[in-house]
Symmetry: C2
Subunit: 677 residues, 2 copies
Amino acid sequence: MSRPSSATSATGPVRLSAQANAALRPGIAPTVTAGFWHERRTTNARVGIPQGPKLLESAGNLHNLRLAAGQADGEFIGDFPFQDTDVYKWLEAASWQLAQNPADVDVDADPTDPADAADPTPDPESELADQVAQIVALIAAAQEPDGYLNTWFQTGKGQGRFTDLSWGHELYCAGHLIQAALAHHRATGRTELLDVARRFADHVDAMFGPPGSGSPLDTFDAHPEVETALVELYRETGERRYLDLAGYFVDRHGHGAHGGATYCQDRVPLREAETVEGHAVRQLYLLAAAADLAAETGEPALEQACIRLWHAMTTTKTHLTGGVGAHHEQEDFGAPFELPNERAYCETCAAIASVQFSWRMALLTGQARYSDLIERTLFNGFLAGVSLDGEGWLYVNPLQVRDGYVDAGSDQSSRRTAWFRCACCPPNVMRLLASLEHYLSSTDGQGLQIHQYATGRFQGEADGLPLSVTVDTSYPWNGRVTVTVHETPDTPWTLSLRIPQWCEQFTATYSGANPQTNTPLTELTDARPDNGWLRIERSWTVGDEIVLDLAMPARLVAADPRVDAVRGCVAIERGPLVYCLEQADHPGGGLDAVTIDPAAPLTVEERPDLLGGVTTVVASGHRRTPPPTDWWPYQAQGTPAAASYRSTPLDLIAIPYFAWANRETGSMRVWLPTEQH
Amino acid sequence: MSRPSSATSATGPVRLSAQANAALRPGIAPTVTAGFWHERRTTNARVGIPQGPKLLESAGNLHNLRLAAGQADGEFIGDFPFQDTDVYKWLEAASWQLAQNPADVDVDADPTDPADAADPTPDPESELADQVAQIVALIAAAQEPDGYLNTWFQTGKGQGRFTDLSWGHELYCAGHLIQAALAHHRATGRTELLDVARRFADHVDAMFGPPGSGSPLDTFDAHPEVETALVELYRETGERRYLDLAGYFVDRHGHGAHGGATYCQDRVPLREAETVEGHAVRQLYLLAAAADLAAETGEPALEQACIRLWHAMTTTKTHLTGGVGAHHEQEDFGAPFELPNERAYCETCAAIASVQFSWRMALLTGQARYSDLIERTLFNGFLAGVSLDGEGWLYVNPLQVRDGYVDAGSDQSSRRTAWFRCACCPPNVMRLLASLEHYLSSTDGQGLQIHQYATGRFQGEADGLPLSVTVDTSYPWNGRVTVTVHETPDTPWTLSLRIPQWCEQFTATYSGANPQTNTPLTELTDARPDNGWLRIERSWTVGDEIVLDLAMPARLVAADPRVDAVRGCVAIERGPLVYCLEQADHPGGGLDAVTIDPAAPLTVEERPDLLGGVTTVVASGHRRTPPPTDWWPYQAQGTPAAASYRSTPLDLIAIPYFAWANRETGSMRVWLPTEQH
């Protein structure tokens, strides 16, 4: 990549650069020390991750590994061939956690607070390290001499190794094993799990490949995951064959190895695809791998396919929350603009997969829009997947729960549960929260790009030299972000701040630390974001401060009219947060017949007492009281039943969507009919 | 039931009676000789039913019976334990067909028409009788000595008899066997299949019952079907234990025998249920049995539950087409007012089950509304399940197919297929069409109630004496129905004509055949329907004529505002028909962005050239052309994307919904956004 020339002196005026988008790379991950995400990560560290081993024990996952290792008797417990991945994902989460600074994790703990004093895991790190070591040893013991590892098939379930790649998930499991091993290696410096993973990867490499390669199986696992893992294994080890194997698997899609099944991502080759389709997680893990490969190989056709498919997803198949996957059946994408509310599938894992794909696209292209979607997905469609206390989960994330909703008690319930029969989502949430810092910033070698705002230390590089800033913010509750230069080389570099897609107005001010050479306070009046980035290029002095103020009024949004499900409705948003109504805040009736007055003002209220501290938005509306219905609810047009409704005014108290389903059960809705409907 | 006293002379003026609703019973079934349903039944007789044996052979169903009979080697073919029912349902259809007058069936055949001359089954009846006899013999051979019969379990699939009643479907299969046997017995007078069915029923009776009954199994099959069959077997044989067994099974629901699963109709006892829920077909077959039992036992609590649940279904969980079942996943009912369009499940079998339940309710209560729903379901949600040529099927019946729809090729596709992996629907359609006459009229012993209008001869009874009328009509294309008395006792009786729920205006005229005693033409100006029935009580003379004219303008309908899926939309209806747009009639673009002008007139056009002859409704609207979208389809309210659409006028050519998916594939929609949305 080329660096724009800088003609300014090192201490000259602030410049806003028009730097072309270019490939970015993750810098050294920032350290998040306080604020919104820190709170969630602390809960994850203190409640979420510690409960893993017990849950994996009770669900049978560890038993299954012991069976495969010859350390236990009995039968495989559970219904699925991919249950090992629950262990691997937890192990990845625990490993990222071990890599955190323990002081950061417990920064909120207050020994004088009874809740904290009662914490049964006052020293989670050392116990966690023990648990990780034990499970790593168990996994190593379960591995076959030739490197194969999958307890379902090892314990006699199914028809034998690699006989059912549409549903067997063996390479999907290998992928999660490799990712766990890389995290474990990076966190601890140890190689036990990495050795296991490489043995399995080598076995896969020996077994799979095109005709003439000497490998007996010319096909792929219909649940992608091993592909991104292999690219990362290549990056870690430098062994090109892992990258080639990942490329082979991606290329093999769409040529009928799985009968052309859409569910298996086999209907059309990825480079020819026009839209995202099939099982949402499978599609997005595949695309994440394609983006990885495009970054490594520079192949334009693959990059263009990734851009095209991301665009098709966001323009036509993404819910307001960033959630994806319209169908419960087959957990797949629907048709364009088919975005139901109550039956939105929006699997938590699909939100995670979307973040993974978008992050790779952000690095590949340098475009801010990918991080816009990441922000929306993280704060809404993803975060709703875990309860505020860290112990309750949602597999699916609907945008509406009706008054008459009956919980049938399945994994796909709209009520939180402590674990799932198919428990893919909870450890996936744990690993993303534990590794979240990796998605917050990047460097292009000429500065620092801050993609997501969180209080902490962000690091980058300019001309090979390290630089760092501290960020202080109450985001997403408040739009002020203060960036202070903490370490800087003498040469100029560019600080890039993402101006979120939702933000219609912002100011940025510069305050120089050196009164001799810098204007003390300068409003950057010509601050026009370049493709979503506010780029500030200059020579920096330690202590220089940029204050970014993102105006964050509550707002109403409407959908493209082709989104049939929300015709005549608006939704409330503020900053990056999507809001919803919950029945708990609206006693005396349900939410099925509530309307909003879109012309009335919206009131923002800080509510430290509510849901662990949230900012609510209060709107004006009505609750309609339907008359007793005759037996048929469809009437001649011109005599709408709505006109005959009694209607009583109602304050609509909207809470952030991520905080729903944390109180008594009841109805919920994101999209609100306007009063004329 | 009590009969209202009649003070008029036998030849006095026409009276409209205010007869109370009362239990009805099916009269001798009418003979349908021409018109809409006759055409469909002829296609069913000439194309649908004859293809059955070949399809059952190629799908493995007959092979499985041969396996169980020891007449073949190999393994069970197919994926489901209920595959025998495909055979039983076909056998039931074929038996009803054998009971028809062959002359009626072939009335449309024209030997000079090449299409008819090329018909490979010029004499379907005798060949059909042979096929039926062969398959009956095969079934008899497959039965175990103790009466058990289910080829899945007999050939070693599953874990053994009656070990998996949540999914095993053994009594469901028994139910269809019994129904086929009763039809076969009634059609042919033969007893071979009835003997098989009774042996199985006796085995079931020996195996299932409450504690203390001596039967080892105190549970039920989670897919109801045997219950209605047992009631009918009781009616045929007079053996009370069959009725008691049906009652036992119905009562056993909701007490945890299936873990309380909603899918299994086990969450709540039926008499306590407040709404329909779970698997739609299971729910409705159970309710049909409950209505049967209420009719036989007169138990008020059971009748009230049936009334309550039917009302809950129609007011909150029925699509405009009469289709039911909102979810693909689990094929179940959704929450109240959860009535999606593109993901409407509306399984063809559920429409059939709804007709069966409603018909029993019509007989039980005498209320016309049940036949209103039957009419709507038959003409729309049911009939769309089979193609106009009788060879293509839909398992699910959506109300919308989007421009970007991709056919994943499953049973649940929105494109017609020749058969299904799970082929429950096609033979179910065949048996309902072949027995449709049973749902058209009833007698209360004091006259005749005509529930559905079709050209043919309708029969009833008054004071124990037979009566009959002929009906001539082009319904549903035209609202004129001419009823002529063909046979009448001397005493007065009541002719009851259902005034459809959709009909806002009608006239009825009386024309006496005997000029000496009757007014030649009388408009029945005081004709006010009583609970949906126009009741004309008088002494009748052969040749007396009633002409009912149901005004049938095209109309727009809107839904209860709580049906979120169709907010801001209207649908086109005419008479009992729901209309839809198909892409084939609107070249140059798709239907995703089409709107209708609800204030513009609707034009009715007879189109003998189109889709075998239909009446279309032409409306005025626009096709909007969305501008190229940025990547995010949700915008701040007040800047709706819709306003920036280019919009071109478009004639909207609506066809009857039942006729959709009979041309080139493309998009379809029933509900049309109005222009302000």
